[in-house]
């Protein structure tokens, strides 16, 4: 995975009714915790995995989030929800 992006047709949004982040996909809804939503927002097909981890690390006072980011994106890729833009 070089430059992750959401699969064609996937859309992130905040569900005001249930007060949670969701990833909307063709005929499906994936519920997301706030951290997962932040990671997926950064999967724009431009940033690399290290860019994404770096951006999040700044938000979390320099914590090392690289493994968590890799793990989440791997899991999403295995479900076909994130693909490589490269």
């Amino acid at each position: 995975m070089t430059r992750p992006r959401l699969v064609t047709g996937a859309r992130l949004r905040y569900d005001e009714v249930r007060e949670e982040h969701v990833l909307l996909i063709p005929e499906g809804v994936v519920r997301l915790n706030p951290t997962a939503a932040q990671v997926l927002e950064l999967c724009d097909g431009e940033r690399s995995l290290d860019d994404i981890a770096g951006t999040l690390s700044v938000r979390y006072d320099g914590a090392d989030v690289r493994d968590d980011v890799h793990e989440l994106i791997d899991a999403m890729a295995q479900r076909g929800l994130v693909v490589d833009a490269a």
Binding site: G9, V17, L24, E27, G28, V29, Q78, G80
Partner: protein, 364 residues
């Protein structure tokens, strides 16, 4: 409070250029009351009320939704309401020009039905020369970067072409393939004998799907579910009665599933007279089989304690096979009527099809 719905199934019109003999629409689609279709404003109001209730997914279906002249407006309304919209179409009217207009209006996803990967078979099953148009529609959808689902209803007459269908799906660049084994509602009821597949066909198809999944990986999501009649335990119809979805018929009748209009005594509330929120929480139709209190034996004392998992199975199937919509779905091996399911799968012999039509009074 009941759980919140996540899906609104909008049956925009029962008109359709195809005549598929397993269509899930009711047998009385030609009746006057279904021709009195909702106005644009009714649908737009429903989309907004649906979102407020918690709905996230909107299926624009039919019949053929492309026959609605206000479809672009409806897609824009769905986008403005915050819904993720899917167009469930036969594809014959999905031209490049109309596809562009739908894309600009905010349509999110396109699902195109194919009756068979073989052109001749497709046209024979659909009762209409449509294969070439469907393929063109699928290509137009991909050129415009729509996520594309191919849907094929499976039965005795096309299950043996599953490998061709998997190849075609790859060739068209679809990211989802819905292999929908025929459910025996609507037009499939009078055609059950002619459509019921054999165990061998199902087993071979399942193996093909398995090989395809291993080869292609997550790039194509293949949905494959064994048909009810070959199961020993029922599936929770619609994820449970009145728990996840609302179906709106072309005339505004709102029901918990596409086939619920066959249940005697079930009076649907209408969108023209009531809000979606009232219909969801208060209407008799949605409360009739909610929860587990309505259950009879053997569900009531289920030996596997699956009441909350199976939800008693499908109400319409119970009605059809056990003569009582509140009975245990006879797919269940504990149902006293399970023998009828076994007999049905063992006796499929005829090849005669009854085609879907809007002419009055089909024979049931």
């Amino acid at each position: 409070m009941p759980p919140r719905p996540s899906t609104l199934i909008a049956e925009l019109s029962y008109q359709c250029p195809l005549h598929c003999p397993y269509c899930s629409n009711p047998l009385d689609i030609g009746d006057e009351h279904y021709r009195d279709e909702l106005a644009t404003e009714d649908w737009l109001r429903a989309f907004n009320e649906a979102r407020e209730l918690g709905v996230l997914q909107l299926a624009l279906t039919g019949g053929e939704p492309m026959l609605r002249r206000d479809l672009v407006e409806l897609c824009a309304g769905a986008r403005d309401a915050g819904l993720y919209s899917s167009l469930i179409t036969a594809g014959t009217l999905f031209t490049r020009e109309r596809a562009e207009a739908l894309k600009s209006a905010g349509l999110d996803h396109v699902q195109i039905s194919i009756q068979s990967p073989n052109a001749e078979d497709n046209d024979r099953i659909a009762g209409n020369r449509s294969f070439a148009k469907k393929i063109a529609a699928a290509r137009a959808a991909r050129e415009l970067d729509f996520p594309l689902t191919i849907n094929c209803v499976l039965h005795r007459h096309n299950l043996d072409r599953i490998d061709e269908l998997l190849d075609l799906t790859l060739d068209l660049g679809a990211q989802r393939l819905e292999l929908a084994n025929t459910q025996y509602y609507g037009w499939a009821v009078p055609n059950q004998q002619a459509l019921m597949p054999s165990w061998d066909q199902l087993r071979r198809a399942e193996q093909s799907v398995q090989r395809f999944r291993e080869l292609v990986g997550p790039r194509v999501d293949v949905l494959w579910v064994l048909p009810d009649f070959y199961e020993e335990l029922p599936k929770p119809c619609m994820g449970g009665w009145g728990s996840t979805a609302m179906v709106v018929a072309p005339n505004g009748d709102v029901l918990p599933c596409q086939a619920a209009s066959t249940i005697p005594g079930l009076e649907p509330a209408n969108l023209r007279e009531r809000s979606l929120a009232w219909i969801w929480t208060e209407s008799d139709a949605f409360n009739l089989f909610r929860g587990t209190d309505w259950m009879q034996e053997p569900c009531r004392t289920c030996p596997l304690a699956r009441q909350e998992i199976d939800r008693g199975g499908c109400r319409c199937q119970a009605l059809r096979l056990a003569g009582d919509a509140a009975a245990t779905d006879p797919v269940c091996r504990f149902s006293p009527h399970h023998g009828r399911v076994v007999a049905a799968r063992e006796s499929a012999q005829t090849d005669e099809l009854v085609y879907r039509t809007m002419k009055r009074r089909a024979r049931a």
